[in-house]
Symmetry: C2
Subunit: 765 residues, 2 copies
């Protein structure tokens, strides 16, 4: 009886019900009972003539549903008749129904009421379905370029400081046609290594590798330039970057920093030109972070006047993960336990030849290839073993310790511990560099994801273009707080690099602690951001051409190498405990114990019972509030940490055990300390900006960063009464609000990172 | 004047000060002022003879520090003399000093006091350094096998249910010598694809691929067996797994589920034997999750009696990421908009030949290779474009809709929406399978990381073996809550698979919502767990041979394919809103609106003002508490979500906009719903365990899982007054406590997953 049912198309009394009828069926989720109830209700209230009620009943009879074709005909009719209606009439079923009826009659009050109640009953499902009902194909829209509303060039200049000239030199190299990422996209490990070696040679020929060496040995006298080069190269290919870091930063840097003039003159020119590829052989399989316990020995041989370098039996003492070891390295800086007679002097660095110029492995040296890795497959990592290898006395890098020809050990640094950490100081530069490279990786990922999120559209309102991904609150939430944190880290790492480069020696320990902590937070941020950006780009993000494959696989090890992040945060925490002691130095050496014991929290920033409840936007965006919260958390965590450790030691618990028991607390304290510094440095950087439009945008970013961190850690702040629930919720709302406000600036803000187009995937072009 | 200073070695009055003197220098962190203060204090209080005071002063003179050799001689003497002392004398500087003096004299009270105060002043640094002072090389310890203290075989049997026979068949295939992961470790994309095809052929020949097809077409009539096979294969190689899923699950499954007998008979035997490799061509470049808006059309051609399949101009309408498209596929299930005359019937599925038997691409078909991907490079993903390709009428998979020879469209499902979702139902099996495969990946990662954490040792107390990684609190915190969640998800996914397989049709929507939500949470859990396990294995975790490289790269896309996780959680949330409506159905259709509007929270589980403060272990480990908390969160989030959406719609805001505005809330609600179900299913599984020892361990795991989730979300619970800060802190302590208690069970618990040794890396052997 199909034809009967379609009579509705010609019955003006029922025009207003057409959308509702379609929706009731199209969703398919109404139960029979509901269907019947709707039918009865409409029949009762709408005061229709009997034939109309009958026809309506036929449409709403669960036992005899309309056919697919009848429904298609119904919806086509609705669409045709609704085509010319103003948009406001399409927002609800009632509105649409009444507008459809309008052409014929003004709806009665009862009709209106019936429709409205049915619509309410259908609830979300109803309006969703109404949307589908009117939507045919959505118009496609080309992406409109987004014009920055702030001084974009000022931001570019700010981000490129310092050493903008070095940055330009690196970008010029990357722009060469032979620097083509396609060349290493689908190759075996061997071919990848060869390509990276070729690229590295180009970089060396341009004088970039030797930037940090002294000019009398062919260098550029610019530690800062070297760091900038490293940071910038990271936007291209991380295998090249790591090989660059191994050769010039670690291997060359160890000779520069641990050796003396003799070593510099003999080796640095060839290191800088890549004539002499080399290794930094510190880590052993069984002793990654625990360098003090490594097994390789260098024993003074008085008769021959040199050292015997030897790896004891077992695999734990093999040097491992050593870059340049598997293929290219000819000389290695080897860290070994120095033994002179029956004296054990601890870990020292020695230069040990491992291959001749032709690449043949030398006698006594065993090499094992680490093979395929998760990423960085352009770097030839390998294992090294030494079987009683003799090296001359001058092979000891002797800036901080030497052995005289008659076998007498001496060092300008009496403290064994301090000597050890001074020699490990070579790692600090590596940590600064890795932190910067990690952040560059995050910048590349964000540039791709934000630009894609402005271009890619999916789902959306009826008869309008689909929404851009960045129109979605959850998408903004995924990307924009990470963008804000990237900016925050940018300025914090600039600050770290400055302090590292200007290192006058006095605050060496501070810089080390800062480098350790910032390296940990920056590299974890990179891992997290790259992952989130990949997911935010969906299937496109999975195609290698769009860069996430390499970014993710290559940067993954950043959280481990140059120091495992968990171990590094513990270094930072230990330094904080020392600071804590020094801070109270004026009360006298023997007063310190009382401070450890007495929970010296009274001197800290107080919780303010009014402030814990303030929820106004002005207060929530007040940087004094942000900084006070970050500082309070840090001081509370450090103070209670010191107190917990002290109380354990007082009970006779070994300090190593005490520290083990509060290890989670140590990590929290270190993290809070670094987070406070990151915020401070962001604020300080904004202070120095002169252009108001730029300051305005950076202020928003900084507010978002601070509030996002507070939201993420709101459990802790609530636990400690620093926030009340009302304020915690208000912070969440502000984060959403700031994501909205920043949305128009998002693309300019990633463009300002200045990542070359060839380092982005096609989805971001 | 070196010789003078070493007189200390022979002066019994100063024996007790030797450790303290060494530590004061060895750390290198004491300031000059502190050094002088220590010297003055000791001189004043220790009542030493003048020559001794003078000698002590020489050791503590910042202007004339001892040499490195003097310090080495000092520490060697201390070590030698301390060698035979009992360990309890080595715990503090004072104790050690007094013990060293003991051989000569009993220390005076003043000596004792002076030593003790200096030790207190040195604080943490002092005791740390004392540890180093006594530590020489630490003894290595072989790993002792850990004997389970619970019924291990009962757990193995429990985890292997159901279809243990299928699991055995898969393991037998994996054990074949040609199933060797080394073969695909360092190969190009082409070689990888070829190897995976060969492996897949073996699996097909064993009848595994056709398990879910009906036996009259060569199948095994076992949907459950197929799901188990998929889950188990995931432990070996995920490219093989995904190719398996594409061929048999998606392509074969679409024919089985959307086609009718004619299609089954014609195609299923060849699909199952891999004679006919095929594609599941749904996703388009511009329309990933938004299937309803895809662009490919299939237009009825009345004259020729078939359909014209066509891709409109532009790249957005190309089918993309299609497995088997780039190399092997001969036939494709293509999803396209069906148009009959001027009727648009929405998305339907058609069988379209794309290559002949020789592998030549057919006329009208364009193929583009997706090229190298982040992972899964053994799968030949590609893009497909159709240029007015004619297919016969019977190519429409016509179980749910057909077009008659005279061009009349009909469907047994009148609702367009329901028809659409029914056809998309093929994806549900994919989601169940991907969730299981993700969890298997997490199990492999945890097995490797936990076993490594028992074997690898680093740092530790003096003169004792180094600590195993799992001895560290932070390491347990990284691995054990994830292990607990993996168990929880295991039982939840078992429950899902059962419901999916037994699907009687009535609760179809429930199963779909559950599959969507569990797929999202399980695959995010996999990504997170694999990452954490990789980092927990340090540099070893980065070597490809240790499996994380593949696990991470291959499983990464699990959060996107078969439905983007964010989109899937929104599906779950929408289903919750419908449930919410249905739940209140008994108050009548027109009462629903009042519930949406009226925040119907009074009917929910109440916050209990006493319970919010309880902090005792008994309460914190009470499953009623856990379940009440999870349930309260879910109900609160769903209720307030419904209320927020309704109030927006009442204000005349379009429902799509309303949903956009509360999108973060929707995700939270969906997540809370799924988390409650996960916990319930874990509890239900434990209820069914009969062995007490096993129940005990599973109870601990379940407690850890529940409390870890509460800790992670404590911000929310504190915000909503469900937890007081004191209780929140007590939960954190309980998590630490449970990690300790579970530690001895950790290795047996991962061994029980039964992952074959060849699927683990050598670090886990």
């Amino acid at each position: 009886m199909t034809s009967d049912r379609l009579a509705i198309l010609d019955d003006p009394h029922l025009f207003s019900f057409m959308p509702m009828l379609y929706v009731a069926w199209s969703d398919g989720e109404l139960s029979d009972v509901e269907m019947t109830a709707i039918c009865q209700h409409v029949s009762r209230t709408a005061e229709l003539p009997e034939p109309c009620t009958h026809l309506l009943g036929r449409w709403l009879d669960p036992a005899d549903p309309p056919s697919a074709r009848e429904l298609e005909t119904l919806v086509k009719t609705i669409r045709t008749r609704a085509a010319d209606l103003p948009n406001r009439d399409k927002l609800s079923l009632t509105g649409l129904g009444l507008a459809l009826a309008q052409s014929d009659h003004d709806a009665s009050e009862t009709e209106r009421t019936a429709l409205y109640e049915v619509e309410k009953a259908l609830g979300v499902i109803g309006t969703e379905a109404a949307r589908h009902m009117l939507a045919s194909r959505r118009p496609a829209v080309p992406h409109e370029p987004i014009e920055p509303t702030f001084d974009f060039e000022a931001l570019r200049a700010l981000l490129d400081q310092p050493n903008a000239d070095v940055r330009e030199r690196i970008y010029a190299i990357i722009e060469r046609p032979d620097f083509d990422l396609d060349r290493v996209r689908d190759v075996t490990v061997d071919d990848y290594r060869e390509q990276v070696f070729q690229w590295l040679k180009v970089v060396a020929d341009e004088g970039i590798g030797a930037l940090s060496f002294s000019s009398q040995h062919g260098g550029g006298d610019s530690q800062g330039g070297f760091v900038t080069a490293f940071e910038t190269l990271a936007s291209f290919n991380l295998s090249l970057l790591v090989k660059f870091g191994v050769q010039f930063g670690l291997f060359g840097g160890s000779i520069q920093q641990l050796g003396t003039e003799r070593h510099h003159a003999e080796y640095l020119p060839d290191v800088g030109s890549l004539e002499l590829p080399g290794c930094f052989a510190m880590t052993e399989t069984g002793h990654g972070s625990n360098v003090a316990d490594l097994e390789t020995t260098a024993t003074w041989d008085g008769e021959r006047g040199g050292f015997i370098v030897d790896t004891p039996p077992g695999r734990a003492g093999w040097k491992n993960y050593i870059g340049n070891a598997a293929r290219d390295g000819q000389l290695a800086t080897v860290f070994a336990q120095l033994e002179v007679g029956d004296e054990e002097h601890g870990v020292h660095a020695f230069l040990v030849p491992i291959r001749d110029k032709e690449g043949n492995v030398l006698p006594g040296i065993s090499v094992e290839d680490d093979g395929k890795k998760m990423g960085l497959n352009g770097v030839d990592n390998g294992k090294l073993r030494f079987d009683n290898v003799f090296i001359p006395r001058t092979s000891l890098l002797d800036r901080f310790a030497s052995v005289s020809p008659d076998g007498v050990y001496s060092s300008p640094i009496p403290s064994r511990n301090r000597r050890f950490f001074t020699m490990l100081g070579t790692l600090v530069g590596g940590r600064v560099s890795v932190a910067l490279a990690g952040l560059t990786s995050a910048k590349v990922a964000l540039t791709i994801a934000v630009r894609y999120a402005e271009r890619r559209r999916q789902f959306g309102p009826p008869d309008a273009p689909e929404y851009a991904l960045l129109d979605y609150l959850t998408h903004r939430r995924r990307l924009l707080p990470r963008l804000a944190k990237t900016y925050a880290l940018h300025f914090a790492l600039r600050h770290l690099a400055e302090r590292y480069i200007d290192d006058s020696g006095d605050d060496r320990r501070d810089v080390e602690a800062l480098a350790a902590g910032l390296k940990a937070l920056a590299t974890w941020h990179a891992t997290d951001t790259i992952q989130e950006c990949r997911e935010a780009c969906g299937g496109q993000g999975y195609l290698a051409v769009n860069r996430f494959a390499d970014l993710k696989a290559d940067s993954d090890i950043f959280t481990t190498f140059e120091g495992d992040n968990v171990v590094l945060l513990q270094l930072t925490a230990k330094s904080l405990l020392t600071d804590y002691r020094n801070h109270f130095h004026d009360v006298g050496v023997f007063g310190i114990a009382r401070f450890f014991a007495g929970r010296a929290l009274t001197s800290m920033a107080e919780r303010n019972p009014i402030a814990t409840r303030l929820t106004g936007e002005k207060h929530l965006r007040d940087r004094d509030f942000h900084l006070a919260a970050f500082t309070w958390r840090e001081q509370h965590l450090v103070g209670t940490l010191a107190s917990r450790i002290k109380s354990r030691i007082d009970q006779g618990i070994d300090s190593s055990v005490a520290i083990l028991e509060v290890q989670d607390h140590m990590l929290l304290a270190a993290r809070a300390h670094i987070q406070r510094i990151i915020l401070e440095q962001f604020l300080a950087a904004i202070e120095r900006v002169e252009d108001d439009t730029l300051r305005g945008v950076l202020d928003l970013l900084c507010d978002l960063h601070a509030l996002d961190e507070l939201e993420n850690d709101r459990g802790w702040f609530l636990d400690h009464g620093y926030l009340e629930p009302s304020k915690s919720k208000a912070i969440r709302d502000q984060v959403n609000e700031l994501c909205d406000e920043l949305r128009p600036h998002a693309e300019p803000l990633v463009n300002a990172f200045g990542i070359p187009k060839k380092c982005l995937g096609p989805i971001a072009w």
